[in-house]
């Protein structure tokens, strides 16, 4: 694997990142010398077998974790903690939304400390809710909404933050299958509308191929990149026709084999 060149154009650059939990004989090597670059506006899926260290990688990208070796560069700047202009959607929406706040206030929450004047904040929140299809739900509370709707609120919150980079940590894993399809298409629509870079961690192979321009397949820990697959399916994607597309079937089969093979190159 060639050394990725850092160009000003890269949205994200992962520079030989390794991470080890603990030390001594019980140390757990989660990530081993990961290196890849993401161009702005790309949609990159990250898949791997369970326990592969996907979450560790995402937390490292988010700046929540400092890798034991290597560094992450976002928008040309080396991250030290959480970089600005980056939003995250968590898997557990019931814990990532604040239950004592209305939907509106939840979406507005990240804007709370900024210097944006109130009327403008309200407009941003309204726009974000519209974008996820929850236009009239601002005054409700999260527990009044179904699981899928709660995750939409989380996405709206990420949108309101106006990020250039969005990280999504298995966001649809806890949602039922039918709702998942709607949410997947929502994410694609958002990418088209706002043009942000998206890194999407999932264990669902079909989903990873359906959504992305690129699929990064991770091995079991210590996780390396097994393969960096370009996904050249026609756009816009469609739940039925894209999934019938022979290229799709071939790609997902390839990814599946890589994963079931324990993350060894085929």
């Amino acid at each position: 694997m060639t050394d990725p060149q850092q160009t000003v154009a890269d949205a994200v650059l992962v520079d030989h990142v390794s991470h080890v939990y603990g030390s001594g004989p019980s140390a757990h090597h989660a990530l081993a010398d990961l290196a890849f670059a993401v161009k702005p506006g790309e949609f990159v899926s990250i898949v791997g077998p369970s326990g592969a260290g996907k979450t560790t990688l995402l937390r490292t990208l988010a700046g929540l974790l400092t890798p034991t070796e290597g560094a992450v560069w976002v928008d040309g700047r080396r991250t030290n903690g959480v970089p600005p202009g980056m939003a995250m959607v968590f898997q557990d929406y019931s814990r990532s939304l604040l239950p004592w706040l209305t939907v509106e206030k939840n979406v507005a929450f990240p804007l709370g400390g900024s210097s944006i004047p109130k009327p403008e904040r309200r407009a941003i929140v309204a726009e974000a809710l519209e974008a996820v299809g929850l236009g009239g739900f601002g005054k409700r509370y999260p527990w009044q909404l179904s699981g899928g709707m709660q995750q939409r609120v989380a996405i709206a919150r990420a949108l309101a933050y106006r990020p250039s980079l969005m990280l999504m940590d298995e966001p649809f894993a806890s949602v039922d299958a039918q709702t998942r399809e709607g949410l997947e298409d929502l994410v694609l629509k958002i990418r088209d509308t706002y043009g942000m870079t998206i890194l999407f961690v999932t264990h669902d192979i079909d989903e990873s191929v359906y959504l992305a321009n690129r699929v990064l397949v991770l091995s079991r820990p210590p996780a390396r990149i097994v393969e960096d697959i370009a996904v050249d399916l026609p756009e816009p994607r469609d739940q039925i026709t894209t999934r019938e597309n022979p290229d799709f079937i071939h790609l997902r089969g390839h990814v599946a084999r890589l994963i079931h093979g324990g993350g060894e190159p085929a």
């Binding site: 990532s96 604040l98 400390g113 699981g147 949602v175």
Partner: protein, 283 residues
């Protein structure tokens, strides 16, 4: 865990509307509350009218005596209601406020920093095992028999309950909620006041409720010794004069005070923490 699907939500709404209307249910609740009370008081009144026992005065007499004691005359209102009843309330409130504030602060620190918690934990566990009332003689020796001592004593006893519950509440906040604060670059101060404390509030409030009961109890106990006023003091004075009627009256006053405090806290909880109650019904 997946949230309720729209189908489940719809079924719940249907079922709820098929129950008896709200006002009927409310009436039934009130009836369950009032009728047995009336029956018990009535039976007691009857029993004491039939067979007089010095230790169990007639309930109506007790209530009447209390009313006279507290509000019988202008002087009574000044001396008794304000001088005795409110004196206890004042001590209790002050001690509770100080103890609760201390408990929340220390509990939050313990909850947020695992290192601090581990160092301090054995000490806390031991100190709170000492029955708070047993420390009264110690406080008397150290601080004398005055009201400052009482307030400090109450605050000391109260703080443990609040501390433990706060530490538990803060310490068990779900990781995702804390991550959320960091990911969106929320300032540490705002993380504390806008995420950590509200999330821990249900447990903190549970601690506050227990602490309020403790505050009342500690106030009364502190008034049994070397006191000059208060409900506890009045109880002991009545006892020394073998005035059983007044003793019962003061115990009734205590019960009413306890009920009022409990209701007040329950009311506050309903307003502040409705989100917690309602969201838990869903899971």
């Amino acid at each position: 865990m997946a949230g309720p699907s729209t189908r489940v939500l719809a079924t719940r709404a249907l079922r709820a509307s098929a129950e008896r209307p709200r006002w009927v249910r409310g009436l039934v609740s009130v009836a369950y509350f009032v009728v047995p009370l009336v029956v018990v008081v009535g039976l007691w009144q009857l029993a004491t009218m039939l067979g007089r026992n010095p230790f169990f005065p007639q309930p109506f007499a007790i209530i009447g005596n209390l009313w006279t004691l507290l509000f019988g005359s202008e002087k009574a209102v000044q001396d008794v209601f304000v001088g005795q009843f409110l004196a206890t309330v004042g001590r209790m409130a002050l001690g509770f406020a100080i103890g609760a504030a201390w408990g929340v602060v220390v509990g939050t620190i313990m909850g947020l920093w695992r290192g601090a918690r581990e160092v301090v934990s054995p000490i806390v566990e031991f100190l709170r095992s000492i029955p708070a009332t047993a420390t009264l003689p110690l406080f008397i020796i150290l601080l004398g028999g005055g009201d400052d001592m009482r307030v400090v004593f109450i605050a000391y006893g109260v703080s443990w309950f609040v501390l433990i519950n706060t530490a538990q509440g803060v310490g068990s906040i779900h990781k995702t909620m804390l991550d959320l604060g960091r990911v969106f670059r929320v300032s540490p101060a705002r993380r504390l006041f806008a995420i950590v404390l509200p999330a821990a509030l249900p447990k903190i409030f549970a601690g506050l409720r227990i602490a309020s009961t403790a505050a009342l109890l500690l106030a009364i106990v502190s008034e049994f010794m070397l006191a000059l006023n208060g409900i506890g003091f009045s109880l002991v004075v009545a006892q020394s004069r073998f005035n059983l009627l007044s003793m019962w009256s003061w115990m009734l006053a205590l019960a009413i005070l306890g009920l009022l405090i409990n209701s007040l806290l329950e009311f506050i909880e309903r307003r502040l923490l409705s989100w917690h109650r309602l969201s838990r019904q869903r899971t």
